[in-house]
């Protein structure tokens, strides 16, 4: 009798141990789903595909990766979709600053970054302040002077007023006591067209957008919006160097998981991402698209999540955008 009991205890504990051991390590056993909030061809989509290519090339993941596009609501649909998978180890989503900003200003949003599980911050995307090549502004000082002489006459093309480019404009206006107009266009294509066509005097764009037009001699970069000069534009001084004491708001990009993501899944992806950012293909990818490596995980990432949300909240309030969370 005792032997039978002992046998049972042995068997049960063995199963428990084995089960526990199985629960320790996580590895994807189905095709991996990467979630992005833009349509195909959009910024997040291209970035996610780039990351997937690097991961697959270096065989850092055992399954193939597919990209799921959940567009809508400026990221809110994707965030909502992710939050519905609470407690599950997938999908892994790619966030940008709109994931931080939009839940703050839209009451239709249902979840914020604080409730999701940030896994890693991968890059910080700088931006550059540009003007047409044939315009009289050679640097930021020229532009500010012109704005001072003609208040409200100069025009900046950009996205919505809660976007990064308008935030920069508001900060710059406040720091210099000047004022110029902001015109919203729905897409990058139309914004560049407005700048090139003379309907706007300046545009804050991504460095990768700017490269080709600079090469063709159509536009000029007058400032780098980052805390240090950009490798691709070593001759372009930053805003701070040109005397404008405004905080830079680089765009963070990284990966985030569903709320209450299992700890082993989170650890798995943290490790995979840490390996990815060390590969030469990743470095090549960053270099090509002029992105700054800004790998961050763990408690430092949590601090960043909190502080970035707060920073955005303050900037939005100052800009007169209604904050609901």
């Amino acid at each position: 009798m005792l032997r039978k009991i002992a046998l049972w205890v042995f068997a049960l504990s063995g199963t428990a141990l084995a089960g526990g051991a199985a629960a320790q390590a996580y590895a994807p056993d189905r095709p991996i789903e990467f979630l992005v909030h833009t349509g195909p061809g959009g910024g997040s989509d291209v970035f996610a595909r780039g990351a997937a290519a690097v991961l697959e090339k270096n065989k850092l993941v055992p399954q193939r990766i597919q990209i799921t596009n959940k567009t809508g609501g400026g990221g809110l649909v994707a965030m909502s979709f992710l939050s519905e998978k609470a407690g599950q180890p997938e999908p892994v989503a790619f966030f940008t600053s709109v994931w931080y900003v939009n839940p703050l200003i839209r009451k239709e949003g249902k979840v914020t970054m604080n409730e999701l599980t940030p896994i890693a911050r991968l890059i910080l995307e700088a931006s550059v302040l540009t003007v047409r090549a044939d315009s009289p502004f050679k640097n930021v000082k020229d532009f500010i002077e012109a704005a001072r002489k003609n208040p409200g006459k100069l025009k900046q093309a950009g996205g919505s007023i809660s976007g990064r480019d308008n935030n920069m404009r508001l900060l710059m206006q406040k720091a210099t006591g000047t004022q110029w107009q902001f015109i919203s266009f729905p897409g990058g294509g139309e914004r560049i067209a407005a700048l090139l066509g003379g309907h706007a005097d300046t545009y804050v764009m991504e460095p990768s957008e700017a490269l080709e037009h600079i090469r063709a001699g159509k536009i000029r970069v007058i400032a780098a919006v980052m805390d240090k000069r950009l490798a691709a534009f070593p001759d372009v001084p930053t805003l701070k160097e040109q005397g404008l004491n405004v905080p830079e708001i680089p765009q963070p990009r990284g990966v985030v998981g569903p709320p209450n993501m299992p700890a082993n899944a989170k650890a798995y992806w943290e490790a995979v991402m840490a390996k990815m950012v060390k590969t030469p293909e990743w470095r090549e990818f960053l270099k090509k698209d002029l992105l700054e490596d800004a790998f961050l995980t763990g408690p430092a990432l949590q601090d960043f999540t909190k502080s970035f949300s707060q920073q955005m909240r303050e900037i939005l309030k100052e800009g007169g955008v209604a904050v609901v969370r």
Partner: protein, 503 residues
Amino acid sequence: MDVIANLMQGFAVALAPANLLWCFVGVFFGTIVGILPGLGPSATVALLLPLTFSMPPTSALIMLCGIYYGAKYGGSTTSILLNVPGESASVVTCFDGYQMAKNGRGGAALGIAAISSFVAGTFGVVALMLIAPPIASFALAFGPPEYFGLMMFGLAMVALLAGRSMVKALIALLVGLWLAQSGIDLFTDTSRFTFGRMELLDGVDFIVVAVGVFALGEVLQNIERRDAGQVLPVPKGMRNLMPTLQDLKDCRFAFLNGSVVGFLVGVLPGAGSTIASFISYGIEKAVSRHPEKFGTGVPEGVAAPEGANNAETGGALVPLLTLGIPGSGTTAVLLAALILWGFRPGPLLIAENPALFWGLVASMYVGNVLLLVMNLPLVPLFAQILRLPAYVLFPLIFGIAMVGVYSASDSVFDMWLLAFFGLLGYAMAKLDYPPAPFILGFVLGDPMERALRQSLMMSGGELTVLVSRPLSATLLAFACIILLIPLLTRLNALRLKAIEQAE
């Protein structure tokens, strides 16, 4: 001439057996995608993008572009036969195309659509090839006031789409305008008419509205009539299976109209093929000798919008290839594809990659020919769909609508919206409110408002900016002329009546 030499080299690339195959694959897929509502070329191009990484980039671009302009061919098929717009630009083809099918001339309508698409598509490629750089500068000169002028010109078309009651047409237009405002306001980031629903943050999807009002509205009307037999007379005899020479003669101007309007509107970033089709249709009706017949099934009413939406693909490629600026959803995906393949789209793309550009141009000629050859013989085959009895066909339409809408947005909420718009379409038909102005308002409402507010932001609140620039003033003048046409026609009719009575 340089162009000829380049083109010859381009054909050498395009006619290479592998590229020919990829071109065929692209246009074939494109046609299928066009036929199914909800599955659009931009989604399909994105879907096939990963496959292209193992292909040489020129072949990949040939295939993806094939999907793009192939979809425009396919979209007309369901519009004509079932009143289901397969692609947003095909909604205008529904107006006369479906009526032609109802009159037993469905085959002729399909044939006209294919021929017009071929003529205009080829025109678009020729224009792309010859005048891309100067046209690109023209496009850049189009600022917000000019866009406003263009949109008002488009909205003025309501005067031509009105039918019997102008008041009802205006009401329909205004409801469309109101619906267009649903969603996030770009400028102030506030939500309008979202009723707290996240799904409405981007506004109402065009496919939901178009399929609901046109397709479901028609189904409900048919159920009301309950004609259980064949819903539409099957075209018999070559006269009705294919366009006649008379049809082709009637459409001479429409071919030109569609080509030019489609290409020019396509060049403007942000102005899409739906706008091009509406404007082309309106111009055709305005210059026609029998405008009152539009809407009852005239071939020009099919040729003009079909041509416009095909020429638009050539136009949309202009800013993409000459400036690296995407003008529409599909060209945005193509831009991303070019970047992923290692190209640097921008003003120097053509100069640095002549084989890519000329190979693409040559293959677009080939593609258009392939599509014509593929589509024309299929016309009698497609027309046989009309043999299906109503009780099979119309539930199928319900189903296609459901699948199409769901596949476009992954949400059951959109299916509820579809049901709502189906009811609206039925009500509009019963109460004699024309659906064309409604769709017109819905399509143009957003771009028009945006252009107006951008213009006012540019000028600091001065309204005069809209008329002080030559291009926008001209467009607004055209808009006024269009609006006055019905008034002038009526005055002329009264005058003639007075003369008669005096005699």
